[in-house]
Symmetry: C2
Subunit: 133 residues, 2 copies
DNA sequence: CTGAATGCAAAGACTTTGCATCAGC
DNA sequence: GCTGATGCAAAGTCTTTGCATTCAG
């Protein structure tokens, strides 16, 4: 079968370690290899890849969905709402949590990229000095 | 001080148990009481309320952010990607998970509404019979 | 008066869709 | 030829912004 050339190029680009790419960033990234590619093709490709479980889709609070290859291993993120630092969470602890939910509610969790927002250690220390609001 | 009349009306509407309202739904809902209200006012109001921790904002996968009053108690949701059923998660178990993350990473989680996507029990049973894809 | 909230309209960002074309089987 | 992928352009949806006006203190 055909398996879409663009799909493969996108997947390859995402696997190269470029994490958390928005559709627009993917678009820009692969234009080196497929100059004539169209944004809508990128969207359609990303949708296919996500549907097939090849990539994860998540909202990092930037206004646009971001995509990431799953083949590099599943992990999750903490995002600092102040400095926008991104901390990677090991899947182990999340999986444990997910397992208990799955059992308790007989609900099979599909979410493969958890993003939690908050304040990182650095910023919390800063905030303590400058009381806000 | 003024505290924005629209803010209060929105908050009241959200507290009345109407959960998971999109900005548009909020807009429609309060038009009964403030006929001339403008969508942009609703956005600005919701932003204020969220910023002040009065309401939670989350992406339920519907394409638009949804808003919910926090005063009714914090809870979280499981959303079935198949039948779109929404299952409420007690905060206890989530809080335990969050606590361990907070300690391990010295990261203060602000996310006050967790949404996990997956397949509910009913749909999983159905899927077993009709092998998909 | 002053600062904040609101209305209005316009723009902006992100995404989807219809249709014609093209490639592979 | 048939099916699915792609390009192109257009529209759609959700949200933000600038500016003038209005309101409370």
């Amino acid at each position: 079968m055909r398996t879409s050339s663009v799909d493969l190029i996108i997947l390859e680009a995402l696997e190269k370690g470029h994490a958390h790419l928005s559709s627009h960033e993917v678009y820009e990234l692969i234009r080196d290899r497929v100059p004539a590619v169209n944004p809508s093709t990128v969207y359609r490709s990303l949708e296919r890849l996500a549907h097939n479980g090849k990539i994860s889709v998540s909202d990092m609070g930037t206004g646009a969905e971001v995509y990431e290859s799953i083949s590099n291993g599943i992990h999750h993120h903490l995002v600092c709402q102040n400095c926008h630092r991104v901390i990677t969470l090991e899947d182990d602890e999340v999986r444990t949590f997910f397992s208990s939910i799955q059992q308790k509610y007989s609900f099979q969790i599909v979410t493969n990229h958890l993003v939690l927002f908050g304040i990182c250690e650095n910023c919390r220390n800063k905030d303590e000095s400058s009381a806000e609001e």
